[in-house]
């Protein structure tokens, strides 16, 4: 390794930012090279000599000065913050007009604004009430429409009326009566069958339950009888057992229906 490369490492040799291997390489080289040895020796000498410039302590005044400076700075910062607050207040104050006439106008404006907001506030619940009323009205109209359809001569229109009643959550007495009377006396079997399905949806109504039990002994069509027996079983109506027994005793009832009624009696007796 030549002298140039070695001398480049001298600073690292002094500061200690050098690997052990490099340090050994420098030491080996300077043992043989006089020029480099003298250079390194003079550098080390002055580097070591600098050690006499020992770390000294500043006077106590430095600390005192620092803390009073810090205190001043903190105070000026809080003053600045306060000033900003005052600034905001004075900005609001500037908004207030000087002339009494304008003051009056501004007050009146604020009053009107308040009234408008207050009015808007009360309109919202009122609108809610109107909506509820409208919903009720539509429901009533639909029920009336269903009832009037069931009264029609055409079987398809009567079916339409019964279909409408399927989607009603809370049918009124009139519609229920209409459905029961349809079940009892409609000439069309399919209309009566649709009425059974509709009444099944409202079977929790006491009047409907009783009407269904009663109609069991009044029906003559095997299809309706079968539908009613299934309905009684599925809603587990025990009071229907007597009506089912009377079906068994009756002579003009289809044997298949009798079988079904017997099964129904057994299932309801458990």
């Amino acid at each position: 390794m030549n002298c140039q490369n070695i001398r480049e490492k001298f600073t690292g040799y002094l500061t200690g930012e050098i690997s052990k291997k490099e340090k050994e390489r420098i030491q080996t080289h300077v043992r043989q090279c006089k020029d480099c040895r003298e250079e390194l020796e003079s550098l080390t000498e002055i580097w070591t000599k600098l050690g006499v410039l020992k770390e000294k302590q500043p006077s106590p005044q430095l600390r005192t000065r620092f803390y009073s400076m810090l205190e001043d700075y903190k105070q000026s910062e809080t003053k600045k913050a306060k000033k900003e607050k005052i600034h905001l207040l004075s900005w609001l104050k500037n908004l207030w007009p000087r002339r009494p006439a304008f003051q009056f106008a501004l007050s009146l404006g604020i009053l009107v604004l308040g009234l408008v907001i207050g009015n808007l506030w009360t309109v919202i619940p009122r609108q809610n009430a109107i909506t509820t009323a409208l919903v009720d009205e539509v429901r009533g109209m639909r029920q009336a429409l269903a009832v009037s359809l069931i009264d029609q001569e055409s079987a398809s229109e009567r079916l339409q009326g019964i279909n409408m009643s399927y989607s009603m959550a809370d049918p009124d007495e009139e519609l229920l009566d209409k459905l029961l009377s349809t079940l009892k006396s409609d000439p069309s079997v399919s209309v009566r069958l649709a009425a059974v399905d509709a009444l099944y949806l409202f079977h929790n109504h006491p009047k409907v339950k009783q009407g269904l039990i009663d109609s069991l002994s009044q029906q003559s069509s095997p299809m309706i009888q079968a539908a009613l027996i299934d309905l009684m079983v599925s809603i587990r109506e025990r009071r229907a057992v007597d009506a089912l027994k009377s079906l068994l005793d009756s002579e003009d009832v289809n044997p298949e229906i009798k079988d079904r009624a017997e099964q129904g009696i057994q299932r309801l007796s458990f």
Binding site: T15, I46, V52, L53, F66, L70, K74
Partner: protein, 185 residues
């Protein structure tokens, strides 16, 4: 609180807890003071400059970024404070207010006198070094800074710093022996 790093504390100072600067002052003001003392040789001037450094830290606290080492940032401010002082006073070094000798304890009067002369001579020699070399030498010899940190602080490459320190030591030696009267020891 003591376990917090300089950088953590400086971030708090930056974000409004200015009273926390006291912790950084207690940790570093002696170091900064000695940096100025070796750079200028003047005790009272060094104290003024330390005060200016901490005033500037407050003034520029919002610009502090935690990416680098706090000490590097602080010494960069210290360096600027010193450069600004030189510009203002239009003088390269101060011989009016000499380096004060350390209070010697158990040394003999002869040893004490020799050391006092050494210190005066060395300080004088240092003050004759070009500023850039002087800064690099002092930071490396007394502030335990790595080349990388000095390079970051002075804004140049590591290789340049290494070469500068080498030349600074060499030149300082030459000035020192010249001041001694050309007599090699």
């Amino acid at each position: 609180m003591e376990s917090l790093s300089d950088s953590d504390i400086m971030e708090k100072v930056r974000d409004g807890q200015v009273e926390k600067l006291a912790i950084l002052f207690e940790r570093h003001h002696v170091k900064v003071f000695n940096f100025f003392l070796r750079l200028t040789g003047s005790h009272s001037l060094s104290e003024d400059l330390v005060q200016n450094v901490f005033i500037r830290i407050l003034k520029y606290r919002s610009t502090y970024q935690a990416r680098g080492k706090f000490v590097v940032w602080m010494f960069r401010i210290a360096r600027n404070v010193h450069v600004d002082h030189i510009r203002k006073n239009n003088e390269a070094f101060h011989l009016d207010d000499q380096y004060e000798e350390p209070e010697s304890g158990e040394e003999s009067p002869v040893q004490a006198l020799e050391q006092k002369q050494d210190i005066t001579l060395l300080q004088k020699a240092l003050s004759q070094l070009p500023l850039k070399k002087r800064e690099a030498l002092i930071l490396s010899r007394f502030q335990d800074m790595k080349y990388r940190e000095i390079a970051e602080l002075l804004g140049c490459k590591e290789g340049t710093i290494k070469a500068n320190i080498h030349r600074a030591v060499k030149q300082l030696g030459e000035i020192y022996f010249e001041l001694q009267g050309g007599v090699s020891s």
